[in-house]
């Protein structure tokens, strides 16, 4: 049986993790320069603290994410590698998994995604598409103005970027909570080990 994640997939996962963390926390400092909601992010949890260094960090991690995301999509779409299958998704099975979860019966086997995981990861993929597109539209509202037009104009794009970030942060919280419930997954993503099928 093959390992759940190839070394390249695991490397890309951690590259993406670092980049998303850096982009999110520097993004909070950039938001603080001109907040459009009645709150600011605490300076202490931002990367850079204020606008100038935060922007420099943001662009460093932007290139990291661009590299990682491009390679990841290439692996998945063209080489059919890069992680377990994300389809099919059946609503009936989703409902069964939901009931199981309520009964605290979590099925997990490394290398195979249950339908709930497939739905979650597809949603995350859509959020990544949105956060990257809105980010490009904010960076280049003239040269790439067709993106901003499709998303309702420059000011709307700022909100799209904010809410796709919020969605990704929500995912990360769920993701890390699940790893805490099934800690062996952390070993799988770090070392690629294939543990025995387990039921918790």
């Amino acid at each position: 049986m093959p390992k759940a994640f190839s070394p390249l997939t695991r490397l890309l996962h951690w590259l993406n993790a670092v980049c998303v963390l850096g982009l999110t926390t520097s993004g909070w400092a950039i938001y603080n320069a001109a907040p459009f909601y009645p709150f600011e992010f605490p300076k202490e949890i931002t990367l850079g603290g204020y606008l100038t260094p935060a922007l420099r960090w943001h662009f460093l991690f932007m290139w990291g994410l661009m590299f990682g995301a491009t390679l990841q999509i290439f692996l998945r779409v063209f080489l059919a590698r890069g992680g377990p299958a994300l389809s099919p998704i059946h609503s009936k099975i989703l409902a069964e998994e939901f009931v199981d979860t309520l009964k605290l019966r979590l099925m997990h086997s490394a290398g195979i995604y249950v339908h709930t995981q497939r739905l979650l990861y597809l949603t995350v993929f859509a959020l990544f598409v949105l956060v990257i597109l809105s980010g490009l539209a904010l960076w280049k509202p003239v040269q790439l103005q067709f993106i901003a037009e499709g998303l309702g104009g420059y000011e709307a794009v700022r909100r799209w970027h904010f809410w796709s970030m919020a969605g990704l942060v929500g995912f990360i919280l769920i993701h890390v909570a699940m790893v805490m419930i099934v800690p062996s997954t952390l070993l799988v993503m770090l070392f690629g080990a294939q543990p025995e099928k387990e039921k918790e």
Binding site: A33, F36, P53, F59, L60, L138, R158
Partner: protein, 219 residues
Amino acid sequence: MTFVGGTAGVMSFPSLREPALDRVSDFNDKVQDVLFDPTTLAQVYEPSDVTSPFPFNAFYPESYAPRIQGSDWRLSVDGLIEKQHDFSISELRAFPQETQVTRLICIEGWSAVGEWSGVPLSSVLNFVGADLSAKFVEFRCADDYRTSIDMKSAFHPQTILALDFLGRSLPVPYGAPCRLRIPTKLGFKNAKSITEIRVTNVYPGGYWEDQGYNWFAGL
């Protein structure tokens, strides 16, 4: 995890961090130069879309904005040009004028739509016989602000030396008597109360650029 640890290590040491971030910013300049299409126009809006009141923004409070007697003011254009010239306001107004309703986008994220009129920067640069192969056009201002742009952007059709805002002479806080209005670049490139334009091949930087803002700052 080596990558995570390595990143954390680089982040903690300014002597490693700042050169790395400088290199990323230089790389961003090159990418933006490639992405910049001189024929792509910034979106134009209707006069009814103009933001009111239009926000004031500078590195000092509004009351510190320089008050310049229009009749005394001259715009000196020098550097890599054929004939040095000091322009008066009436000389600038004698050129064919352009009006634009465009969105000014600040590096902080906020934006505002305004209506500016004035003379295309290309007209002035052509008039003095600027060396079009020069890399930079630098702007120096009455408030000691400085900034600089690339030659391609200087010749973009929407890059103007604005003399009017909403059909009237530029008010003091908005950069009287003459400011750069360049809707293909971030707000901080739109220098106010300009006194000197210099064409040069020596990287001029700028007030914010020297503090870490990305130089190209294209939109």
